[in-house]
């Protein structure tokens, strides 16, 4: 085992190796590095501090438990870590949508959530998107491409749900998504490269 200080200059893969060896100092170093962005993502999507705290805690607890399942050849640690955080946030988002729908259908009208997301997922997702530093990158997309990315990423909708919501064929939604991610990748590539050089 090594101390937290020894992990100060460790890269992400070394931190995961340390976590695989059940070294809490490695988890602490990873937490220090990424808890802010993970919490911010959950907060941005859920607009609920308590739920965002739960998501952040669960994300790092899952990493502690499942560090062995990280497969380096499939992608970077950040890609893996944020996919865990994002999936956990989407689970929470969907759970809330189910609860909200149940309330809307009259199970308990007296307990309507005070932080209502509104009836329109586009409106809600766009609200999450507003103020994002990604706005510049996203505005390079065509409006219909931006719409599917925002609905999927920040709104937590599946392709089928987006297809239904926009009244567009599933194939069209998939194509828009593919072109949008490709475009975003081109725009964000320099930032990603720069981050990689700085060990993010």
């Amino acid at each position: 085992m090594v101390s937290a200080m020894d992990y100060e200059n460790a890269d992400d893969r070394q931190l995961i190796e340390g976590i695989c060896l059940r070294d809490r100092a490695a988890l602490e170093a990873l937490y220090t590095k990424y808890s802010g962005p993970v919490y911010s993502l959950a907060m941005h999507m859920l607009r609920d501090a308590g739920a965002a705290e739960e998501v952040a805690q669960d994300t790092f607890f899952n990493i502690w438990r499942r560090a062995n399942s990280y497969k380096a050849p499939r992608g970077s640690v950040t890609s893996w870590l944020f996919s865990i955080a994002h999936n956990r946030t989407i689970d929470e988002l969907r759970k809330r949508k189910r609860d909200y729908n149940r309330i809307r259908h009259g199970v308990d009208l007296s307990n309507r959530p005070t932080e209502s997301r509104g009836d329109d997922p586009t409106e809600y997702a766009m609200a999450q998107f507003e103020g994002s530093r990604l706005k510049d990158a996203l505005t390079t997309l065509r409006p219909e491409q931006r719409e599917v990315v925002v609905l999927a990423y920040f709104g937590g909708l599946t392709h089928s749900e987006i297809s239904k919501h926009l009244d567009q064929p599933l194939g069209t939604v998939k194509t828009r998504m593919r072109l949008a991610i490709k475009k975003l990748r081109d725009v964000l590539e320099p930032q990603i490269r720069e981050s990689a050089e700085h060990g993010m």
């Binding site: 911010s40 952040a56 805690q57 890609s79 989407i90 994002s132 530093r133 990423y153 998504m177 981050s195």
Partner: protein, 276 residues
Amino acid sequence: MSWNRRSESQPSTECDEASELFRSYLLGGLDESQAVRVETHVESCASCRLLLEGDGDTLARLAHSVPQTTAPSRVKDRLFGRIESEAESSRPLDRLVESWSLYAEDVLRSLSAQSGKLGLAGLAIALILGGVWFYDRLNEISPEQPATVLEGDELSSRHEALLMSSSPGASVNMLRGTGPGESARGLLVASRTSDRALLLVVDLPPLPRGMVYQVWLIKGSLMHSAGWFTVDSTGYGQTVIIPVAPFWEFDAAGITIEPRGGSIDPTGVSVLSGEL
């Protein structure tokens, strides 16, 4: 159904179909079976793997770029409190798991000196009896354990794996040593009622830091990674395997030496193998 990998002689339609799903996969929009199909395809297709990596980094950047705020300090306190509490509460179960593993290891080591069907049948009976014994002990203590013990994924994995050897549909498969692992023996215990299998190995040489033993499940010409493990100074190791498809659909299993973190395809020397 599975997709084939892209190659010079093969049209890329399968890859196109798979890559159509990458964004949904990364966005968490696929159901479990679709996600498994994507993972299976990516395991065997280098060009799709590269594409998925690039898209994953792009989406990670999306996550990193929302307005930033700091997580309250209580999140960290709760996280490490949860880890500490799990470690404390799991100790009685860990001791039982350890005792069952020692028992299985003894049986396996004794079999190393034998050969033939009688030995394997004896081993299966011994492990089944051992599993029943273990399960009885586990049931005795379960009601007294805090709920977190039984909810823990890691412990429930061990729990399920140990139950396999006492379930009616259990299959016990022997792996035999080759190359540098010539004197090693391995045992895969799987159940038709579970999606997991337990692998036990003895007499494998301990590896240098940075290297691991990687498990492969083989179906036709395709090799599927099923995780990796290390052994202790005596050459004993164990791990729970969660295959990408039902265990009984695979033809064989093998173990190779690979860099820590595992490889996409086998690159190192084979040390154990056996038919399933």
